[in-house]
C-alpha cells in the first residue's frame, strides 16, 4: 500500500512540476513565436504584395475581433499615408486549407494584390499557385462588391490548368476577404488611419 501511495505521489508531483514549467515557458515565448510566425509564414507574402511600401507592414498592424476570432491587419504606407491593408483568409483546397493574403486599397476599395501564405496542394499542380503570377493578377483591381468566380463556374477568373480545386479555393478565400472587408469597412479604415504620420 505504501508503495502505491509513493508511486502516485511521485508521478503526480513530477507531472505537475513539468506542467508548471511548460506553462511558464509557453507564456514567456508566446509573443516571440507569434512574431516569428508572422515573419516567416505570413511575412514573405505580406512584403511581396506591399512592394514599395515606405513602412514595415509587419510591425504596423492592428487586430479586429469578429465573433471570437481575431484577424491581424497589416498596414502598408505609400508616401506617408496608410493606403493599403492586408489580411489573411483561407478556404479549403485539395490538400487542406489554402491561406491567402489579400490586400485592399482603402481609398478605392479595390483589391491591390493577393499572395499565398500557406498551402498543402499537390506539388507541381496546385502548388503552382505559389508562383503563378498571371493567375493571381486576375484578382487585382476587383472591386470589393464584385464576386469573382472561376471560368468553370461561369465567372471570369481563368483557373490554373489542372488545378481547378486550388483555383476555386483561392477565389473562395478572396471572396471571404471581400465580404469581411465590406462588413468591417469603417472600422478597418479608422484603424488604418491611426497609423498616419
Amino acid at each position: 500500500m505504501r508503495d502505491m501511495i509513493k508511486m502516485v505521489v511521485v508521478l503526480t508531483v513530477l507531472s505537475s512540476l513539468s506542467g508548471g514549467l511548460l506553462a511558464a515557458i509557453k507564456n514567456s515565448t508566446e509573443d516571440r513565436i507569434e512574431g516569428q510566425v508572422l515573419q516567416f509564414v505570413q511575412g514573405p507574402a505580406i512584403l511581396k504584395i506591399m512592394e514599395g511600401a515606405s513602412n514595415d507592414p509587419i510591425s504596423d498592424r492592428f487586430t479586429i475581433t469578429a465573433g471570437d476570432e481575431q484577424t491581424n491587419f497589416f498596414v502598408g504606407k505609400y508616401n506617408g499615408t496608410p493606403k493599403v491593408v492586408a489580411f489573411e483568409t483561407n478556404a479549403a483546397g485539395y490538400g487542406g486549407p489554402v491561406g491567402i493574403m489579400v490586400a485592399f486599397d482603402v481609398e478605392t476599395n479595390k483589391i491591390k494584390s493577393i499572395g499565398v501564405t500557406t498551402h498543402n496542394e499537390t506539388p507541381g499542380v496546385g502548388s503552382l499557385v505559389e508562383k503563378d503570377e498571371n493567375f493571381k493578377k486576375q484578382f487585382v483591381g476587383l472591386d470589393v462588391t464584385f464576386e469573382p468566380k472561376v471560368n468553370k463556374d461561369g465567372g471570369s477568373i481563368i483557373a490554373m490548368s489542372g488545378a481547378t480545386v486550388t483555383s476555386r479555393a483561392v477565389t473562395a478565400a478572396v471572396r471571404k476577404a471581400q465580404v469581411f472587408y465590406e462588413q468591417h469597412q469603417s472600422e478597418i479604415k479608422d484603424k488604418a488611419k491611426s497609423f498616419t504620420g
Binding site: D3, K6, M7, V10, L11, L14, S15, S18, L21, L22, I25, K26, T29, R32, I33, Q36, V37, Q39, F40
Partner: protein
C-alpha cells in the same frame, strides 16, 4: 565500472557513437540529414534533451520507484522536448520548419530513453551528465557528417555555399529517402572497417 568522467564523455564520440556504433535513433538520422545545418540542429536539440533528462533522472534515481520508472522517464523527456520545441519556434523558426515533426518525435528517440534507462538511472550525477553530453555530441557529429555527405552530393553545397561551381549536376538521389539509406549504410560499413583493425 571505474570509468572516469572523461571516459564516459569520450565513449559517446567513438566506441558508442550513435547511430553508427549504437545503432539507435535511425529515424531522425535518416529523415533530417538533407543538409549539414538540419543534421546539426537536430543533433543539438537531441543533445539538450539527453543532457537534461540524464541529469534529472540521475538526480531522482533514488526517489523514483522502479516500477514506474519508464513513465517518469517519459514525463521528464517529453517536458524537455517540448521546451526545445518552443525554444526553436521562438528563436530559430526556419530550422523549426525544416525539422518539423522530428522535433516532437525526439520523445520516442531510443537514444534518449536508452541512456536514461541504461545509464542515468544507475549512475551518479556527474558520470550521467558526461554520458549524456558525450552521446549527444557524438550524435550531432554523426548527423552533421551524414548531412555533409548528402548535401555535398545531393545539392552540391555545404552549409548553403556552392562547392563545385556552376557546372555541377546535383545528384538529387542523395537528398531523397533512398539516398539516406545508402549513405547511412556506407558510413556504417566504413566505421566498421575502421573499427575492425
Amino acid at each position: 565500472m571505474a570509468k572516469t568522467i572523461s571516459q564516459e564523455f569520450i565513449k559517446g564520440l567513438w566506441t558508442e557513437i550513435p547511430p553508427f556504433r549504437l545503432v539507435l535513433g535511425l529515424c531522425p538520422a535518416l529523415a533530417v540529414t538533407k543538409s549539414v545545418e538540419n543534421g546539426i540542429g537536430m543533433g543539438l536539440a537531441t543533445t539538450f534533451v539527453l543532457l537534461c533528462s540524464n541529469l534529472l533522472v540521475s538526480l531522482l534515481r533514488n526517489i523514483i520507484p522502479p516500477k514506474i520508472r519508464i513513465a517518469c522517464f517519459i514525463i521528464i523527456i517529453a517536458t524537455f522536448v517540448t521546451v526545445v520545441e518552443l525554444m526553436m519556434q521562438a528563436y530559430t523558426y526556419p530550422l523549426y520548419q525544416a525539422l518539423g515533426i522530428f522535433i516532437p518525435l525526439i520523445v520516442v528517440n531510443c537514444i534518449v530513453l536508452g541512456r536514461a534507462e541504461a545509464f542515468a538511472f544507475k549512475n551518479p550525477i556527474f558520470p550521467s551528465v558526461a554520458d549524456g553530453l558525450g552521446i549527444g555530441v557524438g550524435f550531432t557529429l554523426a548527423l552533421g557528417a551524414l548531412g555533409a555527405v548528402r548535401e555535398l552530393l545531393g545539392s552540391g553545397t555545404l552549409l548553403g555555399h556552392a562547392m563545385f561551381g556552376p557546372g555541377f549536376q546535383p545528384f538529387a538521389f542523395m537528398v531523397e529517402a533512398p539516398g539516406a539509406f545508402v549513405s547511412l549504410g556506407l558510413m556504417l560499413c566504413f566505421m566498421n572497417m575502421l573499427g575492425k583493425r
